[in-house]
């Protein structure tokens, strides 16, 4: 089977418009999370929101489409990859795309044409000069990882030589009110894996990876990935963590490495009590309790369709630079099973990373990133 490499990437977030500026901000300990007073909520709330000018650009595109376009264009800028080639695929990861337009009261009959994901993806693809039909992954909070896994599989099978994988979501009244109705939103900036964690913080971002069958030098390999389902509850995670463990085990098997070879874990770490406990159980089932772990939600909030991509990109640069990023917001251990949460930025000789995600609908995903250089 062909190998798959991450040839280029972009993070477009409140911390910066490219990966470099994001990594610099993380190294300085900056977070995108601020107290906001916006129309999407009656009361002030914490979130990591993009400034309005980040969402502008092409007036023919919606704010959602503009941030995806900005992210993908930046990732493509140093690339030899020919977006228009029949050997180039495009995958868009999003949970709610243009949902903001629906809240603004467009008639139901126009909703499909104006907000439909297929139309939206085709507009973005046209602006990027992509010829092949876009593939849209809409699979709750694992969308970003599932989109990367899908791209990996398409290259492995020989269907494409490179795949542009972009993900994004904007935090609108629709999404905010929904998470609030679940009482899932923390009144403070989120505290992943901490004893006093009390819910999520939402965030906005777009991110892109360009996957390629060719390693043009120094690229990190995406060497395995798998998805599982809890088959237990549509809005609450598994009690045992058994199913996330299944996805981890299967991803390791594909990468042909053992659990003991993993140098660090980039967890989902949403900072809800149940999610973080479930993850801690799964990680212990995999025998990885002592492996250093972080959640980046304290820097970015939960960026939904972008989350898996943003966190994978930070992780692959961790591997390249041999540094471990801390879990902002964490201070005291507080999961039922113990995990080794990274508290401070530090250097470490690392080459293999496990990245996980879980979401509504009982879905779990895991990928393996390896720096072979």
């Amino acid at each position: 089977m062909r190998k798959v490499f991450v040839a280029a990437d972009n993070i477009f977030s409140p911390l910066g418009k490219d990966t470099f500026s994001n990594l610099s901000a993380l190294k300085q300990g900056h977070s995108g999370i601020r107290l906001h007073q916006e129309t999407i909520s009656e009361n002030p709330f914490y979130a990591s929101l993009l400034p309005p000018d980040f969402k502008a650009g092409n007036p023919q595109l919606t704010p959602f489409e503009n941030i995806v376009f900005a992210s993908a264009s930046d990732a493509l800028k140093d690339q030899q990859a020919d977006a228009a080639s029949s050997r180039t695929g495009f995958i868009l990861s999003t949970t709610k795309g243009n949902i903001g337009l629906i809240e603004n009261g467009i008639p139901d009959a126009d909703a499909d044409r104006q907000t439909g994901l297929t139309e939206s993806a085709m507009r973005i693809a046209a602006c990027l000069g992509i010829q092949n039909e876009p593939i849209i992954v809409s699979h709750a909070c694992i969308s970003g990882l599932l989109a990367m896994i899908t791209g990996m599989r398409m290259i492995q099978s020989g269907l494409y030589d490179q795949v542009i994988v972009s993900g994004a979501d904007l935090i609108t009244a629709f999404i905010f009110s929904g998470f609030q109705s679940f009482q899932a939103i923390s009144p403070n900036p989120c505290r992943p894996f901490d004893a006093n964690r009390d819910g999520i913080t939402l965030g906005e971002a777009a991110a892109t990876v360009i996957l390629s069958s060719v390693n043009s030098g120094g690229a990190v390999q995406l060497s395995g990935g798998s998805v599982s389902n809890d088959a237990n509850h549509i809005s609450g995670p598994s009690r045992t963590g058994e199913e996330l463990f299944m996805a981890i085990r299967s991803a390791l098997r594909q990468a042909a490495i053992s659990a003991g070879e993993i140098d660090f874990i980039s967890a989902h770490g949403t900072a809800t009590r149940y999610n973080d406990d479930m993850e801690a159980r799964a990680i212990n089932l995999a025998g990885m309790g002592p492996v250093p772990l972080n959640s980046l939600k304290g820097f970015y909030g939960h960026t939904l369709g972008a989350a898996g991509l943003v966190e994978s990109i930070v992780s692959l640069h961790s591997l390249k630079e041999n540094i471990l990023f801390p879990t902002k917001g964490y201070s005291e251990p507080g999961t039922e099973r113990e995990v080794h949460v990274i508290k401070e930025l530090r250097s470490a000789k690392i080459s293999k990373c496990l990245k996980t995600a879980s979401g509504f609908g009982g879905c779990n995903a895991a990928i393996i990133l390896e720096n072979l250089n």
Partner: protein, 185 residues
């Protein structure tokens, strides 16, 4: 199976088909239309297939696609969110929830994925599902199309296995496109 009830609207059709199938699954009544359609289509697909006995929980995958995502319930949630956002409605505003409901009903814990395409993409679905088999990630897969918006709905599901009996059709792009076209007529 033959089931015809002229004069029913889309929602009425789903509830009538549930009764016709003799299902006793109270959770069905809490679901949105997309999930009801997916659950019913899976029920009919698996009837008499002998499926449940054959595989471990993690050996069955579910790979679904549609055109409209969860737009049917998105529009309903958007109308109620200002007066009283309902978590019971919000949770359905993700298309992969239909996979979650099918997984719960049948204890399927294997690979799952939800894709959105402007029309059924037999080439992609065949490639993706065959890839899962070739990587030995699954032994069996429920795959196809489940779409619901307003009064328009369409489901076309396939049960794909590595062992075959006399009446089975090879899982090829040409065959599944033909199935989808026949199903549309």
């Amino acid at each position: 199976m033959e089931f015809q009830q002229p004069g029913l609207n889309a929602a009425g059709f789903l509830d009538e088909l549930y009764r016709h199938e003799g299902m006793a699954y109270p959770k069905f009544h809490k679901m949105d239309h997309l999930c009801k359609l997916g659950i019913l289509a899976t029920e009919i697909l698996l009837k008499n297939s002998g499926h449940p006995q054959k595989y471990r929980d993690d050996e069955t995958g579910v790979v679904l696609s549609n055109r409209h995502g969860s737009l049917d319930v998105d529009l309903k949630y958007a109308k109620t969110m200002k007066t009283g956002a309902s978590p019971a409605l919000f949770v359905y505003t993700l298309p992969n929830i239909v996979i979650g409901e099918i997984a719960i009903r049948h204890k399927f814990k294997g690979e799952n994925a939800f894709f959105v395409f402007k029309s059924f993409n037999g080439n992609f679905i065949a490639g993706y599902v065959n890839g899962l088999f070739e990587s030995r990630l699954i032994q069996c897969c429920i795959c196809g199309w489940v779409d619901f918006l307003g009064e328009e709905y369409h489901a076309m599901l396939m049960l794909v296995e590595t062992t075959h009996s006399g009446t089975d059709i090879p899982f090829t792009v040409a065959n599944i496109n033909q199935l989808n076209n026949a199903n549309h007529e």
